[in-house]
């Protein structure tokens, strides 16, 4: 039983059979050849894969691989030559379609042929390093069809022609374009590159070269940029639709070069529409477009930046040098702020807050602001104006904003110490005349200056505030202690610490007797509690309120101390000469002239009558109380001490003082540096000193040299005996 079962299940051992039929190759090949023909004729469904595969398999197994491979190659060539002819014969616009149709056929056929010959591919082809079947089919297609003399040129021309038509506005068959370029890519990226991409880029370059030339002749800068932007977008879309992705960067680079790079200078500098005009007219959209387009080309942004910088410097220079424009300091600074706002807006809206541009703007401003050496003074006057009058229709926040913007201008100043001097003067006047709108705003400004320049800058200024507060307390306790005597005029004293305040040395004038009494009482009171101190009346800085009757009407006059002294004289005398007044009051000559002028020569404020009625004060003039004075207002202000733009002589004086103040600062810096470095050469000293002081002012190298020599004289330093340019610190 068992053995029977065994027999039925017995497998026969494998027997190796020799193939002895010489014609078997031809028979097998014929089968395959016929099958391939059917495949190319779209009749594959009737074929048996099994059979064909096995046929090919056996051929290879029996060492006929080479013969099979060669026969296959010949066969494919034959079919391709036929296809080639039919493509060549196609007329006109159907050419591409026919090519695509045949390509699709060939691909399908190749796949099936490869499947049938899979065994050959995996064994014979691999061992003998032949081209695999599918790749062979592609190579043959490339060589016999695509590069056929009658097809090669026509194919490229057709593609380029269609692209050109599309560029000129026509609609073309993009699907066909896509499948054709894909075919080239399937044949190998070098085929795509050599047979299409390279000539495409060349043709595109000359197209855009021509078009850009045309545009630039007839368009203004803004229009041209719009067109360039449009073309760029078109090309990007075109590539994404029917070309290989890696052509993207190459074609955009062509457009960038031809349309932008090559015409950059001409566009930027175009008259009436170029970059400068865009700045002047705030053309934010155009500027934005230019920024984005020129980002793509070398030196694009740096060119824009340098044109902007020189334009800002130019217009800034005009602003600060125009005599008309610098008449009103407040207007002057307002114009600077407006200019800064304008460009800040441009950089924020059109240049995406690009830091490089912001820096260029800052250095341009720094450059022209310092061309006018009155800038520090004017900025201080601007702040003074705002702190006196407030910002129109503004609340606390707005004032803060304005002050912050002013601080930006402050940062550009090279001579910050000059600003400090003026700020002190103006602040003193504000505080003493009680003419500041907001204590908050004053304090806020101080904080900003302290943050910017450090404690030393603002310590004296803070001292001024403190003096006023202390004075207020002192006055309260003075009047609390005072007994009786309610007839005396009321005084309000502000005690200024010498050194904190910008006072000019002043010999006090002679006070009217009505005042002397109470003021001496105060002096006694103060010195009683502050032994060892010395008080000096600053009669050039005070003010007074005087009740007066003119033609039956009561008025209250607000006048300066000097004016008060002069007016009080007329209580006891009717007509006085200049000389009388000068002797009686002891007011210095220049001040007296100014004082009398304001009392007698100003329309609406002429509480005194002058003979003769000329505008100028001369020493032969006589003055009378003017009972014909009228004013609509009960309270009349005459010549308050308002901060004004300095006169020329005043300006020179201030500058001199600034220069004097700088000397010790320079010397201190030199000594500091030499103490730590011990030995240093001349140029290095100059560099180091400049670096240390530049947050306050820019020291003049000549002045530095003089200071070094002075220090040598005073034996802080010595010159090296061998090298005259070297200095040594003497301990």
């Amino acid at each position: 039983m068992n053995s029977q079962k065994k027999r039925t299940n017995k497998i026969e051992p494998f027997r190796h059979r020799v193939d002895s039929d010489p014609k078997s190759f031809d028979k097998s090949w014929k089968k395959l050849e016929d099958a391939i023909r059917e495949i190319y004729n779209h009749n594959a469904s009737g074929l048996s894969f099994e059979e064909l595969y096995r046929t090919a398999y056996n051929l290879v197994l029996h060492k006929h691989g080479l013969k099979l491979y060669d026969k296959l190659t010949e066969n494919l060539k034959g079919h391709l030559k036929e296809m080639c002819r039919s493509i060549e014969d196609t007329q006109g616009s159907l050419f591409l379609e026919e090519l695509q149709r045949r390509w699709a056929d060939h691909n399908k056929a190749l796949q099936m042929i490869r499947d049938i010959l899979m065994y050959m591919d995996r064994t014979f082809v691999t061992t003998n390093k032949k081209t695999p079947v599918f790749d062979l089919g592609l190579e043959l297609w490339r060589d016999i069809v695509v590069r056929a003399p009658k097809i090669h040129g026509r194919l490229l021309d057709t593609l380029l022609e269609l692209i050109h038509r599309e560029r000129m506005g026509e609609m073309i068959n993009r699907g066909l374009m896509r499948s054709t370029t894909k075919m080239l890519m399937d044949l190998g990226s070098s085929v795509y590159h050599d047979d299409f991409e390279k000539p495409f880029l060349e043709v595109s370059a000359s197209f855009y070269s021509g078009e850009s030339q045309q545009f630039i002749e007839c368009c203004d800068c803004g229009e041209y940029l719009k067109k360039a932007e449009r073309r760029l977008a078109e090309e990007l879309e075109r590539v994404s639709q029917y070309m290989d992705a890696k052509t993207t960067d190459k074609i955009t680079s062509v457009v960038d070069t031809e349309m932008l790079s090559n015409h950059m200078q001409r566009l930027i500098l175009m008259e009436n529409s170029g970059l400068v005009n865009m700045f002047v007219d705030d053309k934010h959209e155009d500027l934005s477009r230019m920024y984005n387009l020129f980002k793509r080309v070398p030196d694009g942004h740096s060119t824009i930046r340098s044109v902007m910088a020189s334009h800002v410097k130019e217009s800034g220079k005009a602003l600060v040098s125009d005599p008309e424009k610098i008449k009103d300091p407040v207007e002057f600074v307002q114009r600077l702020l407006n200019e800064k706002d304008k460009y800040d807006e441009i950089i924020s809206i059109s240049f995406s807050n690009d830091k490089a541009f912001q820096n260029a703007l800052n250095s341009s401003f720094e450059n022209f602001i310092n061309l006018n050496n009155r800038s520090p003074e004017f900025i201080s006057l601007f702040v003074d104006d705002k702190l006196r009058k407030g910002v129109k229709g503004a609340n606390e926040e707005d004032v803060e904003t304005v002050l912050d913007k002013v601080m930006m201008l402050f940062r550009y100043l090279q001579e910050k110490d000059v600003f400090e001097k003026y700020y002190k003067q103006h602040l003193a006047k504000r505080l003493l005349s009680g003419k500041t709108t907001s204590d908050e705003a004053e304090r806020s400004m101080l904080v900003k200056l302290k943050t910017e320049c450090g404690y030393q800058f603002t310590s004296k200024l803070e001292g001024m505030f403190n003096d006023l507060k202390t004075s207020h307390d002192t006055m309260q306790s003075f009047y609390a202690n005072l007994s009786g005597d309610t007839d005396s005029p009321t005084i309000s004293v502000q005690i200024l610490t010498t050194g904190s305040w910008p006072t000019q040395p002043c010999t006090p004038c002679k006070l009217p007797p009505e005042i002397v009494d109470i003021s001496e009482k105060f002096r006694a009171f103060y010195l009683g509690t502050h032994n060892g101190r010395r008080l000096t009346w600053q009669t050039n800085m005070g003010n007074a309120d005087i009740k007066a009757m003119f033609g039956g009407r009561r008025h209250e006059l607000n006048v300066s101390t000097y004016q008060m002294c002069v007016l009080m004289l007329f209580n006891s005398a009717d007509g006085l000469t200049y000389g009388d007044i000068e002797q009686a009051t002891g007011i210095p000559h220049a001040d007296l002239k100014r004082c009398l002028q304001s009392l007698a020569c100003v329309k609406g404020k002429n509480v005194l009558r002058k003979e003769p009625m000329s505008k100028d004060i001369s020493e032969d003039d006589t003055f009378h109380y003017n009972d014909k004075f009228t004013s609509k207002l009960v309270k009349v202000k005459i010549g308050t001490v308002v901060a004004q733009k300095e006169t020329e002589p005043e300006k020179l004086e201030t500058r001199q003082r600034v220069e004097e103040d700088r000397k010790p600062q320079i010397e201190a810096a030199i000594v500091r540096i030499m103490k730590s470095r011990r030995v240093l050469d001349h140029n290095s000293i100059i560099t180091e000193v400049t670096k240390q002081l530049q947050s306050r002012f820019l020291p003049n190298p000549v002045v530095i040299k003089k200071r070094i020599e002075s220090l040598i004289e005073r034996e802080f330093l010595e010159r090296d005996k061998v090298d005259r340019k070297l200095y040594r610190y003497l301990a």
Binding site: I11, H16, V18
Partner: protein
């Protein structure tokens, strides 16, 4: 992580009628199968079953040149990745058949043939090794021949051996070389 079960589940599809979408007719017997499983395991099956020729639409495919048990073993391998141990005694023969039938089995088959190598199978195995590019198998057989002059004589006298030499003349040279080098080693010792 629980052990993988995909292999086992796919294996259960072997000869499963319900999920079958094609049948193979082998010398009268019918084997159901799933096209996608076969296509997944072999590019040839993929081209055949999913391609555009006759077999794509055919419900039954005829296979004439394979014996039934061989075919079954082949399919067993396709569905389970294992060589079946059903026919223990003739495993070498089975393996020889399968080597012809399926490339992928090569390694497993080579192992089996080597393990069961004897005088009767040596010559044909040599032919197989040469035809199907199994250098390891060839090497083993050569050493087998060379190791015992007795065995070599028997083998070389067989009809099978004559067929092999006719088809693959180079083998003769290789055998001579192998023998020479073996002899010299012996002499050295």
């Amino acid at each position: 992580m629980p052990p993988p079960v995909l292999g086992r589940h796919l294996g259960e599809l072997l000869f499963d009628d319900e999920t079958a979408d094609v049948r193979f007719g082998v010398r009268g017997e019918t084997f159901p199968a799933q096209r996608c499983v076969l296509a997944a395991q072999s590019p040839v099956f993929r081209a055949e079953l999913l391609g555009s020729m006759k077999e794509h639409a055919a419900r039954t495919i005829r296979v004439d040149d394979m014996k039934v048990p061989v075919f079954a073993a082949l399919f067993y391998f396709i569905y389970t990745d294992e060589l079946s141990e059903i026919y223990d005694e003739r495993v070498a023969t089975m393996a020889a058949h399968l080597l012809v039938a399926a490339d992928r089995l090569k390694k497993s088959c080579e192992d089996k043939i080597v393990r069961h190598l004897d005088v009767g199978t040596a010559a044909t195995s040599l032919a197989l090794a040469e035809l199907h590019g199994c250098p390891r198998l060839k090497e083993v057989i050569l050493w087998f021949l060379v190791a015992s002059p007795e065995k070599s004589k028997t083998i070389m006298a067989s009809e099978e051996y004559q067929h092999v030499i006719t088809d693959f003349p180079s083998i003769a040279t290789e055998i001579v070389l192998a023998m020479l080098s073996a002899n010299s080693t012996k002499q050295a010792n």
